[in-house]
C-alpha cells in the first residue's frame, strides 16, 4: 500500500489522483475525532447518531465531551418535546402573577387590561395558524378566511340575540354552521387553483362583509355591529373581574388549533397536504385526489377559524363588520408570512406579534413623543397598518422565512442545541420555499 504512491510520484504522470484521494482518506477519521465535527451528526434525526465510535487517537477528553454532548442532547430533546406544554402551563399561570414587564405592558400581568390584550393576541395567533394550514402547509392562497371567523362570531352573536339557547349550544351550532359553509363554498372555489382561487375566495368573503354591514332583517346590527347581551351569557364570562376566564378560553383555543394542526402535520394526511403544495400533479398520478385534500384543509381551517370567531366575540363582547373585512384576511396573510409559513410555531408567533403591534402602535402613534415630530413623520407613524405593511414588504424581500426563518439564521446557537425532530429544521426551509413557489 505505502509503496504505491511513491512509485506513482516517481513517474510524475499520475500525480493528480493522489491529492484527490488522500485528503478524503485522511480527513475521514478526523471527522470522528474532532469535537466540533459532531455538529454535522446533530442534524441527523436520531440523537443516538451523535454516539459515534471515537477514533483510536481520540483520548479521554473527546470521550468525556461526547458523553456530555449526548447527555445535553438527551435533555434538550426531552425539553423540546415538553416545551410547548411547559409554555402552555406558564401562560395558564400568568393570571396568578403580578409581575410587571416594563416596556411591553403598562400594567402588571394579571391586570384585566393586560390579560385582555394577551388574550386577543392569542386568538389571532391561533387564527393565523389555522390559516397556515391552507397557506403554508397546503399552498392555497385564500383571501376569504375572515369569512369563517366572522361566521363563527356573528353566528354566536345572532343566535344569542334571537334564541333562548344556552351559550354552549349556540357556539356549537355556530361552529357547525360555519363548517358547513366552508365545505359548500370550498367545494366551489376549489374548482379553481392559484390566483383564481384567491380571487374567488375574496369574492365570497365580500358577500359576508356586505351582508354584515347591510343589516338584512335587522339581524347583524349593520355598521355598528351586534353587542352581546350580558344576561344571556354564563356569569363566569361577564364583567372585568372574569377577564381571566376569557383569557383561559383564548389560551385553550390556541392550544386546540396547535394540537389539531400539528396532529395533521404528523399524520399521513399532512404529508399528502405538503405533496399537494409541492406538486399536485404528482399526487394526482399517485392516485390521490388533490381536490379532496385541499377541501379537507379548507374545511378544517374554516372550522378552526369559526371557533376562533366564537372566542373573539366573547372576548370583545360583540360582533362588528370589521370581522368580515378583507383587511382582516390580508392581515392574516401578513401574520403568517411574518411568522414563517409552514413552520410549527411561526404562524402563532406572527399572529401574536402582529396583533400586539397593531394594538400598541396605535398607542405609540398618539403618544407625545410622536406628536412632537413634524407632521410628515407623525402622520404615517400614527397608522399601525402603514408600519406593519412596510415591515411586511421588507420581510418578503429580506426574510422570506419570517420569524421562524430568522431563528434558523442564528447559526451558532442552533448548532449548540441539537434538534431532535427533523421537522424542526426542514420545516423552516420548506416554509421558505413555499413562500416562493407558485401554487
Amino acid at each position: 500500500m505505502s509503496t504505491e504512491p511513491v512509485a506513482r510520484d516517481l513517474t510524475g504522470t499520475t500525480e493528480r489522483p493522489n491529492p484527490a484521494a488522500s485528503p478524503s482518506a485522511s480527513v475521514q477519521p478526523g471527522v470522528i475525532e474532532h469535537s466540533g465535527a459532531t455538529v454535522q451528526p446533530s442534524v441527523v434525526e436520531h440523537p443516538g447518531a451523535t454516539e459515534r465510535p471515537s477514533g483510536p487517537a481520540g483520548g479521554g477528553r473527546t470521550r468525556i465531551w461526547s458523553t456530555v454532548r449526548r447527555f445535553l442532547s438527551r435533555i434538550w430533546s426531552t425539553v423540546r418535546r415538553f416545551l410547548p406544554v411547559g409554555v402552555l402551563v406558564l401562560l395558564a399561570a400568568v393570571p396568578y402573577t403580578n409581575l410587571r414587564i416594563p416596556v411591553l405592558f403598562d400594567r402588571p400581568l394579571n391586570a384585566p387590561g393586560t390579560l385582555h390584550l394577551i388574550a386577543i393576541c392569542l386568538v389571532f395567533g391561533g387564527l393565523a395558524l389555522s390559516y397556515d394550514l391552507m397557506f403554508g402547509r397546503t399552498g392555497m392562497l385564500s383571501f376569504g378566511h375572515a369569512l369563517y371567523f366572522a361566521a363563527g362570531g356573528y353566528g354566536t352573536a345572532i343566535l344569542l340575540a334571537q334564541t333562548s339557547w344556552p351559550l354552549w349550544t349556540v357556539a356549537l351550532v355556530a361552529v357547525v354552521g360555519a363548517t358547513v359553509l366552508a365545505a359548500l363554498l370550498g367545494s366551489v372555489a376549489l374548482r379553481t387553483k392559484g390566483i383564481a382561487f384567491a380571487m374567488v375566495t375574496l369574492a365570497f368573503a365580500q358577500i359576508g362583509a356586505i351582508a354584515a354591514s347591510r343589516n338584512p332583517g335587522r339581524l347583524t346590527g349593520g355598521e355598528e355591529g351586534l353587542s352581546l347581551d350580558g344576561r344571556r351569557l354564563p356569569e363566569a364570562l361577564v364583567g372585568v373581574v372574569n377577564t381571566v376566564n376569557l383569557y383561559w378560553l383564548a389560551l385553550a383555543f390556541v392550544a386546540l388549533v396547535a394540537f389539531v394542526v400539528h396532529r395533521i402535520d404528523d399524520a399521513p394526511a399532512g404529508r399528502v397536504l405538503a405533496a399537494v403544495r409541492d406538486d399536485d400533479r404528482r399526487v394526482d398520478v399517485l392516485g390521490l385526489s388533490p381536490y379532496r385534500y385541499r377541501l379537507l384543509a379548507f374545511v378544517i381551517a374554516g372550522a378552526l377559524a369559526s371557533i376562533g370567531g366564537v372566542v373573539y366575540v366573547l372576548l370583545i363582547g360583540g360582533a362588528n363588520p370589521g370581522l368580515t373585512s378583507s383587511d382582516l384576511t390580508l392581515s392574516l396573510l401578513v401574520m403568517v408570512v411574518l411568522g414563517g409559513p409552514g413552520t410549527r410555531w411561526g404562524p402563532v408567533a406572527g399572529g401574536v406579534v402582529f396583533a400586539y403591534l397593531d394594538h400598541r402602535l396605535t398607542a405609540v402613534g398618539t403618544s407625545e413623543a410622536v406628536e412632537r415630530l413634524p407632521s410628515v413623520l407623525s402622520g404615517p407613524l400614527s397608522e399601525p397598518l402603514f408600519i406593519l405593511g412596510t415591515v411586511f414588504i421588507l420581510a418578503v424581500y429580506f426574510f422570506p422565512g419570517g420569524l421562524a426563518g430568522l431563528a434558523h439564521r442564528l447559526g451558532p446557537l442552533q448548532r449548540l442545541l441539537p434538534s431532535r425532530v427533523p421537522g424542526g429544521v426542514s420545516g423552516g426551509t420548506s416554509g421558505g420555499a413555499s413562500g416562493r413557489m407558485p401554487s
Binding site: 387553483k193 392559484g194 390580508l330 401578513v334 397598518l385 413557489m437
Partner: protein, 297 residues
C-alpha cells in the same frame, strides 16, 4: 319602459366603472401572472391626485378645461405610481408569483394607511363639474350624466386598448406575451419592457376609474379603491384572465345584473354577482373567454 332604459344606462355606467378597474388587472395578470392588490391603491391615488389638483394646482379646477387638466393630472399620477411600483417592487421578484402578490398586499395596506394618515379616514367632497350632477332625458328616462360619462369613457378606453393591441408592434408583443411568454422571450424580445408599459396603462385606467368613481359618488375616501377592486377581481375571473374583450363582456354582465337586481330587491344585486361567479366557475372554470386548460388555468 323609461325605468328599463334608466336601469340599462346606469347599469352600463357601472359596467364601465368595473371595466376600467378590471382591464388593467386582467392585462397585468395575463402577461405576468401578478395578482395586483395594489391596483386599488392606484384608484385612490388617481382620485386624490385629481382632488388635490382641482383645489391646489394653478390652472386646474372643477369646471371645464380646468377639470380636464385635473383629470389628466390624476391619470398621469396613477400611471407614474404604477410604473414606479413595477420597476422598484415587482421586477426584482420576477417569476416569484406568490412573493409578488404578497408585496402588492403589503403595498395596498401601507398605501391606504398612508393616504389615511395624510388626508384622514373621512370621505372628502370630490370636485365635480356642475353638469356631472345633472341628468339627461333619454327615451323618457332621466339618466345621470355621470353614468353616461362612465360608460362613454370605458367605451373609449376599450376601443383604444383594442386598437393599441391590434395595430401597434408593442401591442403585438403584449398579445403574444399573454399567449406564451416563454416563446416571446425565446425570440429575443424583452417582455419586461412591455410589462412595465402594461402596468402603466393599467395604472392610468385605474386612476381614471378612481376619478370617475369620485365624480359618480361625489366623495373620495382612502378605502374606496379597495372595495371597487373586489368587483374588479370578480369581473376578471368571469371574463377569463388576460382577455380584453372577455373582461368587457363580463363587466357589462356584472354591471347590468347588479343594477337590475338591486332595483327590484335592494342589496341582493351584489349577492347575485357572486352567485354568477360561482355558476361561471362551475360551468366554465376558465372564464368566458378563457382557453380550456390554458397556461393560466
Amino acid at each position: 319602459m323609461s325605468t328599463f332604459i334608466l336601469l340599462l344606462l346606469t347599469g352600463l355606467g357601472l359596467a364601465g366603472l368595473y371595466y376600467l378597474v378590471a382591464s388593467g388587472l386582467s392585462l397585468v395578470f395575463g402577461l405576468a401572472d401578478v395578482l395586483n392588490f395594489a391596483h386599488g391603491l392606484f384608484l385612490s391615488v388617481g382620485a386624490y391626485a385629481t382632488w388635490w389638483a382641482a383645489t391646489s394646482l394653478p390652472g386646474a379646477g372643477s369646471e371645464g378645461f380646468g377639470f380636464v387638466l385635473a383629470v389628466a393630472f390624476g391619470v398621469v399620477a396613477g400611471a407614474v405610481i404604477a410604473s414606479i411600483v413595477e420597476l422598484v417592487l415587482i421586477r426584482p421578484l420576477y417569476r416569484r408569483t406568490i412573493a409578488q402578490v404578497l408585496v402588492t398586499v403589503g403595498l395596498s395596506l401601507a398605501g391606504v394607511a398612508l393616504l389615511q394618515a395624510i388626508w384622514g379616514a373621512d370621505p372628502r367632497p370630490f370636485p365635480r363639474p356642475a353638469w356631472a350632477s345633472k341628468v339627461t332625458m333619454i327615451g323618457g328616462a332621466a339618466v345621470p350624466n355621470s353614468s353616461l360619462l362612465l360608460a362613454a369613457s370605458a367605451a373609449v378606453v376599450l376601443a383604444g386598448l383594442l386598437a393599441f393591441l391590434r395595430f401597434t408592434r408593442v401591442g403585438l408583443v403584449i398579445r403574444a406575451g399573454v399567449e406564451d411568454r416563454a416563446m416571446v422571450t425565446a425570440l429575443g424580445i424583452d417582455v419586461r419592457k412591455a410589462f412595465t408599459l402594461v402596468f402603466a396603462i393599467g395604472g392610468a385606467a385605474a386612476a381614471l376609474a378612481g376619478i370617475l368613481a369620485g365624480v359618480q359618488f361625489s366623495v373620495v375616501s382612502p378605502g374606496q379603491g379597495t372595495s371597487l377592486l373586489i368587483f374588479g377581481f370578480i369581473v376578471v375571473v368571469i371574463g377569463g384572465m388576460g382577455s380584453v374583450t372577455g373582461t368587457a363582456w363580463a363587466a357589462a354582465a356584472v354591471g347590468l345584473l347588479q343594477q337590475f337586481v338591486n332595483y327590484y330587491a335592494p342589496g341582493l344585486g351584489d349577492i347575485c354577482v357572486v352567485a354568477l361567479l360561482a355558476v361561471v366557475l362551475l360551468v366554465r372554470p376558465q372564464g368566458l373567454a378563457g382557453v380550456a386548460g390554458g397556461a393560466h388555468a
